[in-house]
């Protein structure tokens, strides 16, 4: 291939790729008009370019985002949701006092956590006014003792027997 042919090829390539200057394009047009073989070469390259573009476009173009990328994103999204839920739970765990739900309004304020089981509710103790002084009476032997708890009624006592094995109520004593 001669140097002139090399130059023509380069010029055709530049013009087909839209990289030539206006002067170069004019020069090429002039050469194509006066040289039939140059015009044939240009037409051949031009057709080749057009067909290759179509072939590449058909052969390689695919819809974006393959299944693997999509499934990975879905997995990551699921992990994010679980992580967010865990963070919220941690927040409640650390600061249980912030709970506002009416469902838990009855819980004891010193409850350790939103997730802790609700405390066992015992009998409510109501203070009763004492109408007389209750004497502390303790009757004892080496292995057994009795606690006498005076009732509201004067002269009435609850007798509790205490020994090393068990403690039991013996009876209610009305008079000593």
């Amino acid at each position: 291939m001669s140097e002139a042919e090399h130059d023509l090829e380069r010029l055709i390539s530049r013009c087909l790729d839209d990289e030539c200057t206006p002067a170069e394009r004019r020069a090429l047009n002039a050469q194509l008009r006066r040289d039939a073989s140059a015009a044939a070469l240009f037409e051949e390259h031009s057709a080749l370019d057009r067909e290759v573009k179509q072939a590449l476009s058909r052969g390689l173009r695919r819809p974006v985002a393959g299944r693997r990328v999509r499934s990975l994103r879905e997995r990551v999204a699921r992990i994010c949701v679980v992580a967010a839920a865990a963070c919220l739970a941690l927040l409640f765990w650390i600061e249980p006092d912030r709970q506002t739900s009416s469902q838990h309004a009855g819980m004891a304020p010193q409850s350790p956590s939103w997730f802790a089981s609700p405390p066992t509710m015992g009998d409510t103790l109501i203070e009763q006014p004492v109408r007389f002084d209750r004497p502390q009476i303790r009757v004892g032997k080496p292995d057994v003792g009795w606690i006498l708890v005076p009732s509201d009624t004067p002269g009435e006592f609850l007798v509790i027997e205490v020994n090393r094995v068990l403690t039991r109520t013996v009876h209610v004593q009305y008079d000593f």
Partner: protein, 202 residues
């Protein structure tokens, strides 16, 4: 419209700056894990990434798998991209490395006779009579000729013809001078013309 048929705009520079800023914002958003941002990123770059994979491997049957690997890697490693301006170069490196690995892997498997049935079927479907019967004979011949080009020429050729990139854009991505890009394209065209030997009629 200018003399080369390109859209000219008085405000072209502003447009470019806005584009660059939008691209940076998109990368930043994607790095923060925004799914729509990643989707847009994939849509914007998938075409040329596929071109690079094809240019490096010269195999259509590898493009889908390698592209998926590339986007998976991008999703996992996007946080390590410190400068959003380097996105294209970074993507190119990821795509090129994945394509080279896939090519080597395929060669190793072929040498050891470990290619799966699916891979063999893929080869047949890519080059065989299935496509030819669909009336793509000329395109099939062209693609096989492109695939027969040396990778050195194939890469810029595919980027030019698939994405219509300028010599400067191709040179920037492949780290080549504009003159080298031009020379490689001229040689690629010449080789193609010789290989096809008049099969494409003007």
């Amino acid at each position: 419209m200018d003399v080369w048929g390109r859209e000219s705009s008085k405000d072209g520079m502003t447009e470019t700056i806005v584009d660059v800023e939008m691209a940076h914002a998109l990368v930043n958003e994607a790095q923060r894990g925004s799914r729509p941002a990643v989707d847009r990123l994939v849509r914007q770059h998938e075409g040329w990434v596929r071109g690079v994979i094809y240019g490096v491997t010269g195999r259509r049957d590898l493009v889908d798998d390698v592209a998926q690997q590339v986007w998976t890697q991008v999703w996992q490693r996007l946080g390590s991209l410190n400068d959003p301006r380097r996105l294209r170069a970074w993507l190119y490196t990821v795509a090129r490395n994945a394509a080279i690995d896939a090519s080597q892997d395929r060669r190793r498997k072929r040498a050891l006779g470990l290619e799966s049935v699916a891979e063999r079927i893929g080869d047949v479907q890519t080059a065989g009579p299935v496509r030819l019967a669909l009336g793509d004979e000329l395109h099939e011949t062209l693609l096989r000729a492109v695939e027969a080009l040396p990778a050195l020429y194939r890469e810029p050729f595919v980027l030019r013809h698939l994405e219509d990139w300028s010599y400067a854009e191709i040179g920037e991505l492949l780290n080549l001078s504009v003159e080298t890009v031009e020379t490689r394209l001229v040689r690629a065209r010449r080789l193609l013309r010789e290989t096809l030997n008049g099969k494409v009629e003007p």
